[in-house]
Symmetry: C2
Subunit: 260 residues, 2 copies
């Protein structure tokens, strides 16, 4: 069963960060401890969980300038820790290009984190939030992960991007990480009243019957409000449609992997 998920899709604004935040929160509630790694220079997962910027972050850790143990931060969610991003993570992508094992830096950091962990706090799950790009930061996530969870909107441009994402995963599997696979496609921001989404969902379920998660995340403004309070929707409004959908997704994953 996959334990390290890259939340990835090069298409922008498909709900990667919202999924990383809320899935990490629900997993931490059921199966702590969970680590969320923010690999995006936008640092949305970091601020969305109320983690204040400053101090060692994923940039320093990837470049070997700080220890992951010193960079990891707690947040409002018990059992959830965050390896935060900062804006200088954009510079990291250029500097990383010069470093040895540049595609494996996150993989090596996580391996060393786990092995050195005398506190016995081995992560049940690691979720890695990726930027909307297939550059070196996303590559590090794909090499460190055992599976990709790909959020996507039920719209045309997102559909076009899917095949490119799948090619990238296949190529990473061949060249760097033979364990990598797509665990599933998560349909997000779904507005069931519109015919375009229904059509796209139908197409996807027809082409990839085993890949599309049975749970879809509805469009729900509460999910967009929560980050302005530095809280996951699951704490901001536990009973909203968005929160309930992420809880359902978590139950599906845990039950499927025998965790419940």
């Amino acid at each position: 069963a996959p334990r390290r998920f890259a939340i990835a899709n090069q298409k922008g604004g498909v709900g990667k960060t919202t999924t990383a935040i809320n899935l990490a929160t629900a997993l931490a509630a059921q199966s702590p401890p969970v680590l969320l790694v923010d690999m995006d220079p936008q640092a949305n997962a970091t601020t969305g969980l109320g983690v204040s910027p400053g101090g060692a972050a994923v940039y320093e850790v990837l470049l070997g300038l700080a220890d992951a143990r010193d960079a990891v931060r707690s947040c409002e969610v018990p059992g959830l820790q965050v390896l935060p991003a900062g804006a200088d993570l954009a510079a990291a992508e250029l500097e990383l290009a010069e470093v040895e094992r540049r595609a494996h830096r996150l993989h090596d950091v996580l391996a060393e984190f786990a092995s050195a962990d005398e506190g016995g706090a081995r992560w049940s799950y690691v979720l890695i939030d990726c930027p909307p790009a297939l550059g070196l930061l996303t590559l590090n996530a794909l090499v460190a992960a055992d599976a990709v969870l790909a959020p996507m909107q039920a719209e045309y441009f997102a559909l076009e991007g899917l095949s490119r994402l799948m090619k990238t995963v296949a190529s990473v599997r061949e060249r760097f990480n033979s364990a990598l696979r797509i665990d599933g496609i998560l349909l997000t921001m779904v507005d069931r009243r519109n015919r375009l989404s229904e059509q796209v969902i139908e197409d996807l379920r027809a082409h990839f019957p085993r890949l599309v998660y049975p749970t879809v995340i509805p469009r729900n403004v509460r999910l967009a409000e929560a980050p302005s309070h530095g809280l996951p929707a699951l704490l901001y409004d536990t009973n909203c449609a968005g929160s309930r959908a992420y809880i359902a997704l978590t139950r599906h994953l845990l039950a499927r992997d025998g965790g419940l």
Copy 2:
């Protein structure tokens, strides 16, 4: 009056491509000829206008392997030409890093295109669609443009991204392109029924009174359906709320710049 606009925002999925396609279409109807340059490896603007992939594209042109005149393509919109992207544009970003005047390649290509144009078809407008990143491809767009049009969603993460975009524009103005400024912020996918958007729009208009365009683009599924037909919304459904909003924006720009 700005003639070359970079449609830019590092935040993903805020409507850059939808704006590039529909604004280019409306401008081509009122003030042809217009050139749309697709600087995004996702090539959404290219496919959204029904331009088939294959043949010389922006990648070859930026690396000096092909002439812009051979790469430019027409589409369903009279008076609108497209300099298309292809997936190998992702490779371009790495190769461009090695090239002389690497931040100026698009600028130099457009300058040479204009000067060599004996057909007298000097562009009234050039719109450049950018990827969701502040890397070398977006930098080329910012150096080639005289202004940035920044689409953004009326949501929290987009608000956070705005200051970073403004810092980037200021830094490009200082280092590479003293003419560059933000022409305006275009609120997109606005759902007026939700309080979060009203709040964000109010904040923005208070902080940046002269920057937020009076026109906002409403959330309208017709805008998301159009690209699956290879048509801009303006041809697919001329009277839908989304098309009317892009026409209103175009009138505002042309009237403001004395073009009408």
